[in-house]
Symmetry: C2
Subunit: 180 residues, 2 copies
DNA sequence: CAGGAAGTTCAGTAAATACTGAACAAAAAG
DNA sequence: CTTTTTGTTCAGTATTTACTGAACTTCCTG
């Protein structure tokens, strides 16, 4: 099972009795790890598997069919998950010239897109806090403390996170000294 | 149904045919909103309801029994959810002197606790990226780009987030000028 | 110490959600 | 134009997960 050429697809490696490789050298294991990781963020495990495979696949673009084969999932599932990941903005569809159909690959700015998603959650928290304050507008201020804190924290994050992303972009552009 | 005294509990407001108040003036509606909000973060809706009620309840501490009544949930569910929220670190148990049992209320530093949780996720992402790099350690560097980016982004966040939290603590301590 | 109120545990159920597989659609090859 | 390959849609199923309710435990009160 040579990893470099993703021979998983051509030879019947997928029928192997569950790889005897140590976990840290097993691509399937890595894919499952990403699946679990995605689950902790509320996304379906299969979406994580797709993303996980695209992180290590060779070439970096893979067709739906290839994904279905490698991940041993139904075509339907792959279709749904790629649509989801595309909508979230962390993978994209590429149609190579001459090649028959389209492929998926991880977007260059996948991580800033994911951060935007997290940002939306922060905004949602602030807004709910504000609705709560509206609800208690005639109450004594001590009763409002909990909601005010909730609003202020999230408003603060809301202003800071974009700055942090900017800093990251800068950092990436010219890695200062001993960056890997 | 007077909100100030939480008369929801004493009179049978809970049996009302679904409040005729406009949504922004309806505590039940607020509680449901927080429930949905929590669901987007992967936590059970009922946990969000409990937290939502504790955000607006008077007094700020509520007994399991009260929670069960107001939220129209089983005692078992309340027990599970308060345990979860306590474990996460965003509510705490308080035993008032003389009073018969214990109550729950939102912790003062609930939001920094929640941030810690998010932080843990960032760490998990970095670690998975590193395991991926280990897997591809003998591959040409161009193949590693996706995983390197994933690791670097999260390592960056990992270093920045604590600083941001520090800044928030400072900001809260002495709100500069026209803070609410 | 008995009786009762309040809370927790846990087995079972209801509801939500991920996933499959078959039918359909679109496109390329023969 | 037919056949084959590839992808999508969608109805149905399986699995997971939240939630309930009954039994048990703990702790007050008389």
């Amino acid at each position: 099972m040579t990893l470099t050429s993703n021979s998983l697809i051509s030879d019947e490696a997928i029928e192997q009795p569950r790889s005897a490789l140590p976990p840290q050298a097993d691509p399937q294991h890595f894919v499952e790890e990403v699946g679990l990781l995605f689950e902790t963020t509320g996304l379906p495990r299969m979406a994580g598997r797709v993303f996980g495979w695209l992180l290590i696949s060779n070439p970096p673009h893979q067709s739906p069919g290839e994904l279905a084969t490698v991940l041993q999932a139904s075509k339907g599932s792959i279709s749904t998950m790629t649509r989801l990941l595309e909508q979230i903005g962390i993978i994209e569809r590429v149609s190579l010239p001459g090649q028959r159909r389209d492929y998926f690959r991880i977007k260059l700015n996948a991580w800033s897109e994911l951060s935007k998603r997290r940002m939306e959650q922060v905004v949602a928290f602030r807004k709910v806090a504000e609705r709560g304050l509206l609800l208690l507008q005639d109450e004594p201020s001590e009763r409002l403390q909990r909601l005010q804190e909730m609003r202020d924290v999230h408003a603060f994050f809301e202003s800071e996170l974009p700055l942090m992303l900017d800093r990251w972009e800068q950092f990436r552009a010219q890695p200062p000294a001993d960056s890997p």
